[in-house]
């Protein structure tokens, strides 16, 4: 088991180098650099100053040299600073000589996105397991059909449209929830509990909208898994033994049916750090999606590479965790690995 783990971890390094190499070159295939943004198309600015900027950022050097410089920095875990005029560090805060702390871009955006996505995943999985089980147990009844209809409507509704409707309904005509943003204007003056409820209020809509589209896939997974298990011999045996139906469904069947979900959870770990540009823009949430999108438009290479690197590390770790989780949950696989 340990040797398997070490082998897997060691394999991650060449994979990472490969991923970074490909993303670096693909990124540079896109025409333009940070000096060709719309704001710099201003007759008051001069080509010389843009050229100067290119030299400062080494953008005048061949891509392979730029990649070498990047690898050199990243091997010291230095993700560099953004090319944007705010020059903020990509990953983590820095302190200047006067003790002023400049927060890192990812450092600020990641916790917000993680929080929303973790809440989203929790909501998706808990509701999906309930809905999927219900549909399977009541197969082909009106309950089953309306659940399927509901999850597919949720899947099909465009998120931005639903978001705007809900914002109007809960924020403008009823004023139950805040419309956008992460905190109220008087956030600083609230008590700790007040701050907590304020945050929750701001998160209800974004989490709801982002979860709705995920229900369809997972709940159908659970439903099909359940159906398959419920038709198996050991369930028949359990029933014939006169076992409590509640126990059969929730203890014997469900446990087996949600096994494949572990893989899905593992695979969704990299998705946890990727925010949705559209929903972040609509809800005015400064998360990872908007950060990545803006840096692509700006050709802000350090930020793009920073996010991609962190994303690929998390993907690889996610795969590993999924495999380990599987091994932990399923003795058959565990045996296979240790052999």
């Amino acid at each position: 088991m340990i040797s398997y783990l070490i082998k897997r971890v060691l394999w991650m390094f060449p994979m990472l180098i490969g991923i970074s190499l490909i993303s670096f070159f693909i990124m540079h295939l896109a025409p333009g650099d940070v000096t060709s943004t719309e704001a710099s198309f201003n007759p008051k600015s001069s080509e010389e100053s843009r050229q100067k900027l290119r030299e400062i950022y080494n953008l005048d050097k061949p891509v392979i040299v730029q990649y070498g410089l990047w690898i050199q920095r990243i091997s010291k875990l230095d993700f560099g600073n953004s090319f944007s005029s705010h020059q903020r560090p990509v990953l983590w805060e820095t302190k200047d000589k006067n003790g002023n702390i400049t927060k890192g871009l990812i450092q600020e955006a990641l916790p917000i996105t993680l929080l929303i996505n973790l809440l989203g995943i929790t909501v998706i999985f808990s509701i999906s397991i309930i809905l999927g089980t219900l549909s399977a147990v009541k197969q082909n009844s009106w309950v089953d059909k309306s659940i399927t209809l509901f999850v597919f409507i949720g899947f099909a509704i465009p998120g931005f449209w639903l978001a705007l409707l809900l914002m109007y309904w809960t924020g403008v005509s009823n004023q139950w929830l805040p419309i956008s943003g992460l905190h109220s204007l008087n956030y600083q003056n609230l008590t700790l509990f007040g701050q907590f409820t304020d945050l929750i209020k701001h998160l209800i809509l974004p989490v709801f909208v982002s979860s709705l589209s995920g229900l369809a896939g997972i709940s159908l997974y659970v439903r099909n898994g359940m159906l398959e298990i419920l038709n198996q011999d050991f369930i028949v045996t359990a029933r014939s033994k006169g076992l409590n139906e509640k126990k059969i469904v929730f203890v014997h069947a469900l446990k087996n049916a949600i096994l494949p979900l572990i893989t899905i959870i593992g695979l969704s770990i990299p998705g946890l750090i990727g925010g949705s540009v559209i929903s972040e823009s609509i809800f005015a949430i400064p998360g990872m999606g908007k950060l990545f999108y803006d840096s692509v438009l700006m050709r802000d290479f350090p930020v793009i590479m920073g996010i991609l690197t962190i994303g690929s590390v998390l993907t690889l770790i996610g795969n590993l965790i999924a495999d380990l989780g599987y091994a932990w949950a399923d003795p058959r696989i565990r045996k296979g690995i240790t052999k």
Binding site: A30, G32, S49, K52, S85, N100, V172, S180, I282, A284
Partner: protein, 548 residues
């Protein structure tokens, strides 16, 4: 059995939550029509789509940054309500008889927001900073023309140019003066000052929550006196539909709106009209169709003029801007002295267009397309991802099809657009925009020497008379002589038709009616010109629990 007893309450609830979207009218019974006396205090909340990147304007390039920085910093000079030069940090200025030296007299008794004195040393320091090769500013070139600058005493600042430079005063309205005592030991490119600035204008920075909001509070040491409104909060809301919802829910007071909201939504919503005022003013830019003059057939003036006649500008203004724009006949803002009122835009006249094209050798072929030497007249309009420009291109395509010109449209992301097409000169026709700057100098855009890749005469315009007018206009400081030069320049440019002026759109703002003191109709300098004088009557204040 347990699960059989589960009634689908949850399900019904979820379904109902979608369906029962009942609208409740909760308009506040505030009378916005009453008259109120001016009083200071209160908080104004506006929305912006982008976050400022850097509050040192010479380093930042984005409009969000300059919008905030303009509230914090001052320049030597400013434009007044009718767009004439007015004193700001300088109380007066004089130009030497050879027109090469400008002497600014700095006002006495000025202070930075931290209590330090503001003197000509700060001005000198700022000039050194902007011209320092280590400073990453795109705007250095104007200030590098200054051969010698000096601050002989704390209240005098003198600059001498190599040659007289007419846009000089304009450049001194744009340069925010920075405090030497806080920046002399800092690297301007990465200093924390850009997120924690100290200025001299109406407001000072109060707080900045990344990606969420920037708050300003009034600066008691402001060199222009105290602003009426105490706090300005700019919330960062990237999506304009969300901004609009926040506006209708009274959570924000001010936003920029689009023509559909202005012309369609507000007229049909009485509840909104009661509490929100609409303002329009000519914006600072125009949209044009530009020909690649180095390419056939656009090197033929008759073809350019014909296409100009064949495009109906009023139709575009009606269709794209819902009437909220104006046609242009020169690259200057209508209503300013530089705009030559004798010039009229090319009217829509397809017969004249066809006649000109016939003259240029084009005949209709059997498919109805115009043809010359076996080649039909066809080209591609290139534009960037901008809804209004895309719609404009479609309308043009249809009009030109009517006279037998085959036009295709291609929409490209900005950075690719600039690097693959503009810099390489590999395009036929573009739909793009230029700003309507307050100084009339257009040397960088129209002088024939400005055609290198990365420079701004990418259309390849070359006209000896225009070259010499632009050179003259740059060194002529006498305003009425200068006016004549640029009127002549606009005349030649319109006749040559290297671009088709399509429209200058209005800037549209929606402002909650509790905000008072806004000038209507807006002065030439725009409604925000006197925003320091706006006020919010106490009785109409809201969202201010935390202030108490």
């Amino acid at each position: 059995m347990y699960y059989k007893n589960i009634k689908p309450y949850l399900l019904i609830f979820l379904f109902c939550s979608f369906i029962f979207a009942c609208g409740k009218d909760n308009s506040v019974n505030t009378n916005y029509q009453n008259y109120y006396d001016k009083e200071s205090g209160g908080r104004l909340i506006n929305a912006m789509t982008g976050e400022p990147s850097n509050l040192i304007a010479m380093i930042a390039g984005d409009s969000a940054s300059s919008a905030i920085a303009n509230n914090i910093f001052n320049s030597l000079l400013k434009y007044d309500e009718s767009l004439n030069y007015a004193p700001e940090i300088a109380e007066s200025w004089s130009i030497s008889s050879n027109q090469k030296t400008i002497t600014f007299k700095i006002r006495k008794g000025l202070f930075w927001a931290d209590g330090e004195k503001l003197t000509s040393n700060d001005v000198m320091f700022t000039w050194k900073l902007v011209t320092d090769p280590k400073t990453r500013t795109p705007y250095a070139s104007d200030y590098q023309l200054v051969k010698k600058a000096s601050a002989p005493d704390p209240f005098t600042f003198v600059v001498t140019y190599e040659e007289s430079y007419a846009p000089a005063l304009d450049t001194w309205t744009a340069l925010h003066i920075l405090p030497e005592h806080l920046l002399k030991n800092e690297d301007i490119n990465s200093t924390y000052f850009s997120r924690k600035p100290v200025g001299s204008n109406y407001y000072k920075l109060d707080g900045w929550k990344s990606g969420q909001q920037v708050s300003l509070t009034s600066n008691p040491l402001s060199i222009n006196g105290k602003a009426n409104i105490n706090n300005l909060i700019s919330r960062i809301i990237p999506d304009t539909s969300s901004q609009f919802l926040e506006l209708t829910a009274d959570n924000i007071d001010l936003m920029n709106i689009n023509p559909i909201q202005f012309q369609r939504v507000f007229p049909s919503r009485k509840d909104l009209r009661n509490k929100i005022g609409l303002y329009k003013e000519l914006g600072n830019g125009y949209t044009y169709l530009g020909f690649n003059l180095k390419k056939e057939p656009f090197n033929d003036k008759r073809v350019r003029k014909a296409l100009n006649f064949a495009i109906d500008k009023n139709e575009i203004i009606k269709g794209v801007l819902l009437g909220l724009g104006e046609p242009l006949s020169s690259p200057y803002k209508p209503g300013t002295r530089w705009n030559n009122t004798k010039l009229k835009p090319y009217p829509y006249d397809s017969i004249k267009a066809l006649a000109l094209l016939n003259e240029a050798g084009y005949k209709k072929n059997k498919d109805g397309f115009l043809e010359k030497n076996g080649k039909i007249l066809q080209f591609e309009i290139l534009t960037n991802q901008n809804k209004q420009r895309e719609m404009t291109a479609v309308i043009i395509q249809r009009r030109l099809k009517e006279i037998g010109v085959d036009v295709s449209i291609r929409v490209i992301e900005w950075a690719s657009f600039i690097n693959q097409f503009i810099k390489t000169g590999d395009f036929d026709v573009v739909v793009l925009g230029w700003s309507l700057s307050l100084d009339p100098d257009q040397y960088n855009i129209w002088h024939s020497s400005q055609q290198e890749p990365g420079q701004f005469n990418f259309l390849g315009y070359k006209n000896k008379r225009v070259d010499s007018l632009l050179e003259k206009g740059r060194v002529e400081l006498d305003i009425s002589k200068r006016e004549k030069i640029y009127h002549k320049f606009s005349d030649i440019l319109l006749d040559d038709s290297p671009i088709v002026y399509l429209y200058a759109g209005y800037g549209l703002s929606a402002i909650n009616k509790r905000v008072r003191g806004i000038m209507k109709p807006s002065p030439p300098a725009g409604i925000y010109h006197n925003s320091y004088d706006w006020f919010i009557p106490k009785i109409l204040r809201r969202n201010e629990i935390s202030d108490i």
